[in-house]
């Protein structure tokens, strides 16, 4: 569902499921403005496939963030970078 498309009385995009997927991704990734977001959240109240898909995608996104995003940089790496970029000692 792009900015030009309208929702019908069921909240479904007139352009079909493909547009729903685009809108779902925008909402999931915080790329949708408030209007589009509200439109989508209304739509998933009455559309089970979109509702399930949205919650599945959100669960995966959150799991990725918690499980795969926390690798700490080793202290020796930070030290090595600092040493190699530090200014030469003053004369």
């Amino acid at each position: 569902m792009n900015n030009n498309s309208r929702a019908n009385e069921n909240g479904m995009s007139e352009n079909g499921p493909e547009d729903c997927m685009k809108l779902l991704s925008k909402v999931l990734d915080n790329e949708a403005n408030d209007d589009l977001k509200d439109q989508f959240l209304e739509h998933i109240k009455i559309c089970m496939p979109c509702y399930q898909r949205y919650h599945l995608d959100m669960a995966i996104k959150q799991l990725l963030k918690t499980k795969c995003g926390n690798k700490k940089a080793p202290a020796d790496l930070i030290q090595s970078i600092r040493t190699q970029t530090s200014p030469p000692p003053a004369q």
Binding site: D29, R53, L56, K67, C68
Partner: protein, 188 residues
């Protein structure tokens, strides 16, 4: 336009705008190389390059995206040439294959949010690591680091439409792998 920073300004920018991102940078490098020593080399190379070319960075702008772009290019241009990684899959082929609607249909049947939330082991990490590098990269940038689509387009040097379609396919592939794990664990 090239900036003429003084030595002191260069260090100030490097310390206050670049070094704070060393955690996400290392995580990105690790997810690309899947090896700790290689990640350290890649991050170090990237930071030294960033320092050398600091004149092309405008103070106060998006340092994280700038650094991620250098790291991604270093990985592709320098690192992968040295490594013995098999040649990249033909992207178009993958794109066409996974463009089919069948993938979407199968996924909605097989995998549920509750199942994913029950995954407490390494399944998600293994599924991510198993993705082809182009697909893995968009997931890292978007879901782990929270980059916006336009930032990702700049980091990857591709149009926003490509970012969107790559992300869509990457998520479908990830779900296929998670659905496999779920089946093997007896969740479905």
């Amino acid at each position: 336009m090239e900036k003429n920073y003084t030595i002191a300004e260069k260090h100030e920018i490097f310390n206050s705008e670049f070094l704070p991102f060393i955690g996400p940078m290392y995580n990105f490098a690790y997810r690309l190389t899947l090896n700790e020593d290689d990640s350290k080399d890649l991050v170090q190379d990237t930071y030294l390059k960033a320092f050398r070319f600091i004149g092309s960075f405008e103070k106060g702008t998006n340092a994280k995206a700038w650094l991620f772009r250098i790291l991604k290019n270093s990985f592709i241009n320098d690192f992968r040439k040295k490594s013995k990684e098999p040649p990249k899959l033909d992207y178009q082929e993958v794109e066409t294959y996974y463009n089919s609607d069948d993938v979407d249909e199968k996924l909605t049947i097989d995998l549920r949010a509750e199942t994913v939330q029950d995954m407490i082991g390494d399944e998600i990490s293994n599924a991510l690591n198993a993705l082809d590098i182009d697909f893995r990269t968009v997931i890292i940038l978007c879901d782990l680091e929270g980059f916006k689509y336009d930032e990702m387009a700049k980091i990857l040097d591709v149009p926003i439409g490509t970012v969107r379609s790559r992300l869509h396919r990457a998520r479908n592939l990830l779900k296929e792998k998670l659905a496999d794990y779920a089946r093997n664990m007896g969740y479905t």
